[in-house]
Each structure stands twice: as structure tokens, then as C-alpha cells.
């Protein structure tokens, strides 16, 4: 039962309530998981998926049956890796070899890990990791190789970061470091998923030839999360915002949340938002390469949520005070629009690009570049869905001579019509005249015909020269005289 406060909120925000109800009522999963065919180990895996992921479990469970289990396991494997990396209670000596060897661990029957600290929220997944390994064995070898390969790359990347003392003390240093970090934790996921999709024949293989697109898919999501979580990370003493960025605005990272630094903190956030925003058009390009609806939904929902989150963070001082997230009603609306087609997703991107640019502060150092980045998103959308039809050739003249010729031709055409009409008129007058003349010769009485015409016309108009014209006897007289 929702709290009275929530109920009151939706009472004054009926649009949001409407979106939530619509999503809950009308959304039909593209594919539904068939639980009856699942063994206990797989059921347990899906249980962990629900436990460890709030945002991804729903979209993963609706995936095409071919990819459902591989993607679910891929997620759990990476979540396991992440749980080991994140846990500060584990010594580096224990941590490093496990991270570097995690791809082989995936083939070690019955492997589990119980050394996580009691506060690690996903520790149970590693305690029962044998179920993941059991199911992993059953997956098609092609998928298994992809998952192993990514696990190896990511495990090594994470181990490098854990080893990097400077990183542990100071956090991320340069923008290049920041993007490398995002590559390890998200860009690689993009690569792995893309390879799984292409292997499962649900995505255009050409996506593999444009690695920057799948990289941007991951980078965009990860960077938006890092921007949004600034306050939480600050409290946890973690720094993912690159030093190269924030030192332009404050001396100490923590100063970003001080009220007196409100202005400069917003400038720092707009620089971070600019870095992410420049990836947005790549994401749309990537989505154009997805060929299956459930996979499209799986990819598109997080992206539209991300651009909406960017808009929420942009020019918002609350970002540095507490955790912010998009409203549930807006999220449902985004999901409704993200589970249909690329054009609607493009509309969402354009809408938020415009919302962002409308808030853009002209005195922010990143002002013009943010405007350019928003323009780039709009221009990209125009290249795939042009809003304007190319004018059909309007046959404009191509030189003075031609213009003059066309003018003369138009002039001539005009006179041609005048001549033609005059000729026709003349002919008609001539024939009429001749006929009247012949009639006159033959004794026609035009005077009677004329007066009769006048009179009948007058009757027709209910008017007459004489006030008593309507007297029937008078009419009779005339009639008689005619007879």
C-alpha cells in the first residue's frame, strides 16, 4: 500500500500516475520466460538476477529465448567480479589473483567465495556461485567464449586499478583515465553484449566494425551514473570525477558540495555532462543496428533513462546535496516510449537535448560546446529521420539569359492567350451578327421580342416598369394583341 504522501503526490501529478498505470497495464513482454523448463540451478540464477539488479533484471528477463540465459549469466559473472573488486575488506593479495583468473574460475565446478565482508550486499551470489558455473557449462560454446573473453579483459583491468596506489588514494586523474576506467567497467560490457547479439543474429554484424559505437553505449551509461552518484561517492570517499576536470573549479574535491561553491560546482558538472553528451549520437547510431524488439528494448531503455538523468543533473545544484533520480512516472513514460521503435527513441533524445540546451547558462565555460553537442544530436537524428523533404526541382533559371528567356516566354504565352480569346470572341460576334441580319431580312420583329423579354425578365425579378403590371386583364390584352 503506498504511503499517504505518495498518494497525495500522484493526486497533484496525475500525468505521472497515468504513465505508471499505462506501463503496468499495457506493457506486454516481447518474450516471456518459461519457468517450467528451468532447472533449480537456473531458477536460483534468476533469483540472484532479481536480487542484484533492479534496473536490468526486468529487461533481461524479457529477452529473446536464444539470449536470455547467456545475458543473464553474463550479468551475474560481471556482478560477481564487481563484488570482489568493490570489497575493501579483502586484501589485495587475495583479490588480485581472483580478478585476473576469473575467466578460468568460470569453468571450475563448485567454486564459491565466502570471504566477502558481511556488509557487501551481493555477497550471497558469490557464496552460491556454483549455480552460475553449473549453468554456464550448458551455454553454447560460442557464447561461452565471448563471456570468458570479456571477463578476462575486465578482471585484468580491475586488477590494474586495484594495484594502482595513486588511483586508490586520489581517484581518477585525467579525462583519459576516466574514460579508460569507464571502458573497463562499461565499454567492455557493450562489446560483450554486441558480440552476443551478433552471434545470436539479432544485431547487424556491421556493429562489430564500428567499435566506437558499442564503446559509447557503455561510456554513456557509466558516465551518467558517475555524474549522478557524485554525492554518494563523496560520502563513501570515492572519486570518479577526473581530477583534470574538477581542479579547474575547486581545490579540494569535497569543496564541490560547499554552498559557497555552488556556481563553480555547476560549471564542473556541466563539463562532466558535456563529456557524456558527446556520446549520445553514437548511441542512437548503435540502436539503429539492432534487429530484434526485445534486444532493442533492452538496449534502449537504459539509454533514454540516461539522457533523462543528464537533463535532471544539468544546472541542478541539488546534485551535490543529495541523491537525485528521475521520477517513477517519468521513468514509466520513458519505458513506454523506449519499447517501440527507433524513431520514438530519437524523439526522446531530441526532447531532452532541447531541455538541456534551454537551461544552458551563457556564462558557463562549457556553454557553447554544450549547445553544439545538443545540435549534433539533433543533426544526427535528421540524417536518419529527415523532418524535411528535399524540395522537388523547382526549375529555377540557371543564368541571366535563361531567366530573360523564361520571362520572354511567359510574356509570349500571355499574349498568345489574349490573341486566342480575342479570335474566339470575334468569331462568335460575327456569326451572331450574321444570323441576326439574316433573321431581320426575313422579317423578324426584334422590337416585340425585346419588349416581351423586358416584361418577362421584369416578372422574373418581380419588378415591372408599370405598377399595375400584375393586373391579369392587362396581361390578357397584350396576349390578345399578340394573337
Amino acid at each position: 500500500m503506498p504511503s499517504p504522501l505518495t498518494m497525495l503526490y500522484y493526486l497533484v501529478h496525475p500525468n505521472e500516475l497515468r504513465s505508471i498505470i499505462q506501463w503496468k497495464t499495457w506493457h506486454n513482454p516481447v518474450h516471456e520466460r518459461d519457468e517450467s523448463k528451468e532447472g533449480p540451478a537456473l531458477k536460483r540464477c534468476f533469483h540472484f538476477l532479481d536480487l542484484t539488479s533492479r534496473s536490468f533484471s526486468a529487461v533481461i528477463k524479457e529477452l529473446h529465448p536464444e539470449l536470455l540465459v547467456p545475458v543473464c549469466l553474463f550479468y551475474l559473472v560481471l556482478r560477481g567480479l564487481d563484488t570482489i573488486e568493490d570489497d575493501m575488506t579483502i586484501s589485495l593479495q587475495t583479490k588480485e589473483p581472483i580478478l585476473r583468473d576469473f575467466d578460468n574460475i568460470l569453468e571450475r565446478d563448485g567454486w564459491t567465495f565466502t570471504e566477502n565482508g558481511p556488509n557487501e550486499k551481493d555477497r550471497q551470489l558469490l557464496v552460491e556461485f556454483n549455480v552460475v558455473i553449473e549453468e554456464f557449462k550448458k551455454v553454447k560454446p560460442a557464447y561461452r567464449d565471448i563471456i570468458k573473453d570479456i571477463t578476462k579483459k575486465m578482471g585484468n583491468g580491475m586488477a590494474d586499478y586495484c594495484n594502482n596506489a595513486e588511483h586508490n588514494v586520489n581517484g581518477v586523474n585525467t579525462i583519459a583515465d576516466y574514460e579508460l576506467y569507464c571502458h573497463y567497467v562499461a565499454g567492455l560490457v557493450g562489446e560483450g553484449l554486441t558480440r552476443l547479439f551478433v552471434e545470436g543474429k539479432v544485431a547487424n554484424p556491421a556493429l562489430l566494425n564500428r567499435p566506437e559505437l558499442m564503446e559509447s553505449m557503455g561510456q554513456f551509461l557509466q558516465q551518467v551514473n558517475i555524474i549522478r552518484d557524485i554525492k554518494e561517492d563523496m560520502v563513501d570517499k570515492r572519486r570518479f570525477w577526473p581530477k583534470e576536470v574538477w581542479t579547474k573549479y575547486v581545490t579540494n574535491f569535497e569543496d564541490l558540495s560547499k554552498p559557497e561553491n555552488k556556481e563553480v560546482a555547476l560549471q564542473a558538472s556541466s563539463e562532466m555532462i558535456l563529456l557524456a553528451l558527446r556520446r549520445a549520437d553514437d548511441c542512437l547510431y548503435y540502436l539503429a543496428g539492432i534487429k530484434e524488439q526485445s534486444v532493442f528494448n533492452f538496449c534502449a531503455i537504459p539509454q533514454t533513462m540516461a539522457i533523462a538523468t543528464l537533463d535532471l543533473c544539468f544546472q541542478n545544484p541539488v546534485l551535490f546535496q543529495r541523491n537525485i533520480k528521475i521520477k517513477k512516472g517519468d521513468a514509466c513514460q520513458l519505458m513506454i516510449e523506449s519499447t517501440q521503435n527507433l524513431q520514438l527513441v530519437c524523439d526522446i533524445f531530441r526532447k531532452y537535448a532541447r531541455k538541456i540546451h534551454q537551461k544552458n547558462n551563457p556564462h558557463d565555460p562549457n556553454f557553447l560546446n554544450i549547445s553544439i553537442a545538443c545540435g549534433k544530436i539533433e543533426q544526427f537524428i535528421e540524417t536518419i529521420f529527415p523532418s524535411q523533404k528535399k524540395p522537388v526541382n523547382m526549375a529555377s533559371p540557371l543564368s541571366v539569359a535563361q531567366a530573360e528567356k523564361e520571362r520572354k516566354e511567359a510574356q509570349e504565352a500571355k499574349w498568345d492567350i489574349i490573341y486566342m480569346v480575342s479570335a474566339v470572341m470575334l468569331t462568335i460576334f460575327f456569326i451572331t451578327g450574321s444570323m441576326l441580319f439574316v433573321a431581320w431580312l426575313a422579317g423578324a420583329r426584334f422590337d416585340i421580342a425585346f419588349s416581351e423579354f423586358r416584361q418577362q425578365f421584369g416578372e422574373l425579378m418581380s419588378l415591372s416598369d408599370k405598377p399595375d403590371a400584375r393586373d391579369p386583364s392587362e396581361n390578357m390584352v397584350i396576349n390578345h394583341s399578340e394573337l
Binding site: R354, L368, N369, I372, Q379, Q388, K390, S396, S399
Partner: protein
């Protein structure tokens, strides 16, 4: 913010820059010496006393391009490999002037160039040649038809289009099959020495007009820093010289430069009022966004129309005209994919840097002028 590599680039040989003392022309001359230092440049202009390069490889010739003999004399002596033609009548000139300078002048230059055996002829056209003054332009490209004659509200643009057609028709013409031409269509040129866009915007700010915004500011607009336009011209000249080497082979349709027109912009369309605000910020304005008054397009149009009539009675021009309202609320940006693919074009100076340089130039001029007056 220049993102150019340091690669040795061959000389362009002998280049005539027609209008080389003008705004765009002198930037082209400077860029030639920057990128192709061994090139010899002859500048042809009506008067050559301004914007002169001190480079010893530059020569200056006071020449009226509507005088065939004068043009022939310079071309005959200098024997250029390349002609870059940037001259047109001023936009506000009378129709006869447009015909004479833009159309006749171009034809005279073409004939002279063909006769002395010029290899490459690059013509500065205008991005407006596909704009009819009514419809918006959303990501338009070179396949859009030219708009001239009755449908083209600016006679300036009509004559630019005619001249462009004449130049492109001269490419590989039967009587001069080795004469190669192309046209560059720049959009909204800004930079040091610009007399149109930036000075007007700076003045508008001084008059306090930056307090107003007309329309919803969702209209994207192309502006181009002058050095990028110059760069586009040089890439075109290089491409034509390259094609000239493989004559009479005609390159593939997808790679061809000769006989083609190319849009050149900064490739960074921005919302019109955002551009203006970036200019105003450089001018020193710090008015917060929240203080801006928003006027709807229709309202501003009505006010503008009334003002124009009222001021017409007084014999003056108002600060708000329907033309300005239209200009500031319309979408006008182009696709530069063709120039990217066939010329290898990419802007060398980013838009923000271009605005900074252009506005700084205006402010410096003002300081210099006030010092002069003070003396």
C-alpha cells in the same frame, strides 16, 4: 584550438586570389602562406591598399575584373595554375551592379583563365543559393535545387547562383577540356574583419537588445569561422590540381571534385540565440539567462511590421524588422558530408575559438579608434 597536423604540404604553384584584399580573400592569402609557404600569390582586387600580406611571395594588382583587358594583362603576365575567385557585388547593391560584377566579372575571369591555361578555378559561392526565404533549411545538402529568379528574394543570391552555374559549366568544356572548376558554398562567415554578423551582434548588445529573445530558440543555425572557409578553398584547389594530373581520366562519381559544389561550414550547427549569447559573453555581457524577455515569433513579427511602417514615415530603419525576426527564428543548417568525403575537409578552428577571435578583433579596433580620437 587548431587541430592540424604538421605535415609538409606541397606548393599550389602560382595562385591568383581575386578579391584577395577582402574579408574572406585576405584570409585565403594568409592561409596559403601558412599551409603552402612556397606558393606564389597574385592578389587581384579593385583597390589593394588594405589587408595586405607582407610575404615576399605576394604581389598586388589593382584591377577591375569587369575590364577584360586588365584581367588578361595580369593573368597573361603571372600565368597562374590556380584561380580562387571570391568577388561579388555587395549584397545591397543595385541589380545592374550584381549583373556587372558577379555575373559578367565571373565570365571575364573564366575566359581569361581558360585562355592562359589555368588548371584549377575555385569559385566562392554562397550557402544561400538553395534557400528561398520561406522554407527552412534542415540539414540540406548539395542535391537540393538552386533557387533563383522569382523564387529567390535576394538578387545578390540569384546572381551568385548564376555565376556558380557558369563556373561549373566551364569545367571540362569541349573547347577547354583541361580547365577544372568547382564551387565552395560557405554559410554565415565570421571572423576577424567580418562586417556582417559579429559587428551587428555586438552593436545589438550595446543597444540592450540582448535582453530579448524572439522565438523558442530551438532553431539550429550554421556559422563558419573564416579560416575554415579558406581551408575549404585550398583543399578544393589541391583536389582539382590532383585531378588535373590524371587528366583526361574522370574520377568516380563518389570522389569527384571538378564540376561540383560543396557546402563548407564549421560542422557545428548551434541554436541561433545560443550563438548570439556566446558572442555577447565575449563582448563582456554577464546578464543572467533568467533576465531574458521571450517574445513569440508572431508577436515580434507584428511589432516589427508596425515599426517598419512607422519608421518609414520618419525615413529611418527600426531596431526590429520582420527580416531580422525571420533570420533569428529560422532553422538553417547544412550537411557537410560531401566536403568531408571528397575534399577531406574538417574544420581547423572550432566555433568557440572563432567567436573569441572575431569579437576580440572588434574590441581591439574600438580601442585603437578611441586612442586615435584621444590623440
Amino acid at each position: 584550438m587548431s587541430n592540424e597536423g604538421k605535415i609538409a604540404i606541397p606548393s599550389l604553384g602560382k595562385v591568383v586570389v581575386v578579391g584577395g584584399c577582402g574579408f574572406l580573400g585576405h584570409h585565403i592569402v594568409n592561409r596559403i602562406f601558412k599551409r603552402h609557404p612556397d606558393t606564389k600569390v597574385a592578389v587581384v582586387d579593385l583597390r589593394t591598399n588594405t589587408n595586405r600580406s607582407s610575404n615576399p611571395n605576394a604581389s598586388y594588382h589593382d584591377t577591375d575584373i569587369t575590364d577584360p583587358n586588365a584581367v588578361m594583362k595580369v593573368f597573361g603576365q603571372f600565368r597562374p595554375d590556380v584561380v580562387i575567385h571570391t568577388v561579388a557585388a555587395l549584397p545591397f547593391a543595385k541589380p545592374a551592379m550584381h549583373d556587372k560584377v558577379t555575373i559578367e566579372g565571373t565570365n571575364i575571369l573564366l575566359r581569361a583563365a581558360q585562355e592562359v591555361g589555368v588548371k584549377a578555378f575555385v569559385y566562392t559561392s554562397s550557402a544561400s543559393v538553395i534557400l528561398d526565404g520561406k522554407t527552412e533549411l534542415v540539414n540540406g545538402d548539395e542535391t537540393w535545387p538552386l533557387v533563383t529568379g522569382k523564387k529567390q528574394p535576394e538578387y545578390y543570391t540569384t546572381t551568385k547562383a548564376y555565376a556558380e552555374v557558369a563556373v561549373l559549366e566551364a569545367n571540362r568544356s569541349p573547347s577547354y577540356p583541361n580547365f577544372l572548376t568547382c564551387a565552395i558554398r560557405p554559410a554565415g562567415i565570421i571572423g576577424e574583419g567580418d562586417v556582417q554578423t559579429l559587428p551587428k551582434m555586438v552593436t545589438a548588445c550595446r543597444k540592450g537588445q540582448h535582453k530579448f529573445q524572439v522565438g523558442d530558440n530551438n532553431n539550429l543555425f550554421d556559422f563558419t569561422y573564416v579560416e575554415n572557409v579558406a581551408h575549404g578553398h585550398l583543399l578544393a584547389a589541391q583536389a582539382l590540381l590532383h585531378t588535373h594530373k590524371i587528366l583526361p581520366t574522370i574520377p568516380l562519381d563518389t570522389e569527384r571534385v571538378d564540376g561540383e559544389a560543396f557546402f563548407i561550414t564549421n560542422g557545428q550547427p548551434v541554436y541561433f540565440w545560443d550563438f548570439a549569447r556566446a558572442v555577447w559573453h565575449e563582448t563582456g555581457d554577464r546578464m543572467p539567462l533568467s533576465s531574458v524577455w521571450h517574445l513569440s515569433h508572431e508577436f515580434a513579427m507584428a511589432i516589427g511590421t508596425i515599426l517598419v511602417w512607422a519608421f518609414w514615415l520618419l525615413g529611418r530603419t527600426p531596431n526590429l524588422t520582420p527580416a531580422q525576426v525571420r533570420y533569428s527564428t529560422m532553422t538553417k543548417y547544412h550537411s557537410i558530408d560531401k566536403a568531408k568525403k571528397r575534399l577531406g575537409y574538417a574544420p581547423v578552428v572550432d566555433l568557440g575559438e572563432g567567436i573569441k577571435r572575431g569579437v576580440k578583433y572588434i574590441l581591439d579596433q574600438e580601442v585603437a579608434e578611441s586612442e586615435k580620437k584621444g590623440q
